[in-house]
Subunit: 198 residues, 2 copies
Amino acid sequence: MTINENKRPRGRPRGFALGAAVEAGQHLFHEHGYENVSVAALTEAIGITPPSFYAAFGSKAAFFKETLRLYSATVVPLDRFLTPGAAPMAALGDMLRAAAHAYTTSPQRRGCLILEHAKAGTTDWGIAAKQIAGENRSRVAQFLDDAEIKASGRVADYVATTMLGLSAAAREGWDQPRLLAVADTAAEALLCRSALEE
Amino acid sequence: MTINENKRPRGRPRGFALGAAVEAGQHLFHEHGYENVSVAALTEAIGITPPSFYAAFGSKAAFFKETLRLYSATVVPLDRFLTPGAAPMAALGDMLRAAAHAYTTSPQRRGCLILEHAKAGTTDWGIAAKQIAGENRSRVAQFLDDAEIKASGRVADYVATTMLGLSAAAREGWDQPRLLAVADTAAEALLCRSALEE
DNA sequence: TATTTTCGTTAATGGTCATTACACAACCGC
DNA sequence: GCGGTTGTGTAATGACCATTAACGAAAATA
């Protein structure tokens, strides 16, 4: 809850909606990548000028972290798939298929905003993305541990790598059926593996 | 054979070796990415000044394509694994393991130079990387077709996505055992799948 | 209405970038 | 030696970038 819109400060009220601004920025960052989106492009998309932008968000990097928060809260909610009761491998397969679907629904904004920014070396915005990606990976491992799956870390790494691959393939322009077929193949592999281990 | 070093042109001879320059540039591009390597950094690493660079290579993008050619010719030679006689799925598994190994051998230069540059939208250097990646993918599909594997395209896409994921995970900093375990898991999945289809 | 507080706009600041005139230096055939 | 040809170094060019003073405008409280 870093953005608070329901207060009533004393001076002149802001002339634009914070939420809509973050959403517009999220779309731009997702389509072109952090480094290829200039502050001028952001302010033009929002409909304001640079000083308003800096007064509201502090910096381009801070604004980007805001868009990361919005993205991880709205797109691909992991908890929808990692419900404690479900069959573990089937749940992971559904998650992969959902990712393949989400990564290709918008012709712009392909792939995963978080994963595609989790490689930038030591920039603070890259670290922020890397941290969210790591948290989600831990959640998958914890889910597998709770389901008493052997080698939970290994399976979690396999799923994480597959999602990285799906995101990268989506950014390369693969269409939705193609990506869904890959997700299906990986999902079958998970079931096949769990069958062998029993 | 775009670079010819054994001629004897008329004017003043070049004061540096083209091959060494391309190799130095390949290392820089691999470590930091095309956009994060300035011409100043390139010329300093080579030991020359910008005019010499432009006289020899024409532009930063053209020089990058040269490094791509060198990379695809030296690292990960596909034909070593896609030999017509071998067991197809085992060969693909070996290829994945070799990729996991190659992507993590140098602490700098993680991942695949080609795959990591095959996402940039419509820049000419991104298109060049995308084209090489596509050619290699076609070679895998052809290999599977020749081995009379059902759904060769689907399997080739799965392998390509896995390599994309391995490259991205390597860039995120995963260590070699972790990446090799993922490659093993994917390799087992390929064998498991082919066993089911019979 | 007077005061306060915050907003928005214009226009700059300092930085980095890829690329290139220009002048000089080194090699060829003669 | 000499003219033609080509590489190299110094120093600039123009473009774009993130960020910020300075100032006028608008709204809320009193």
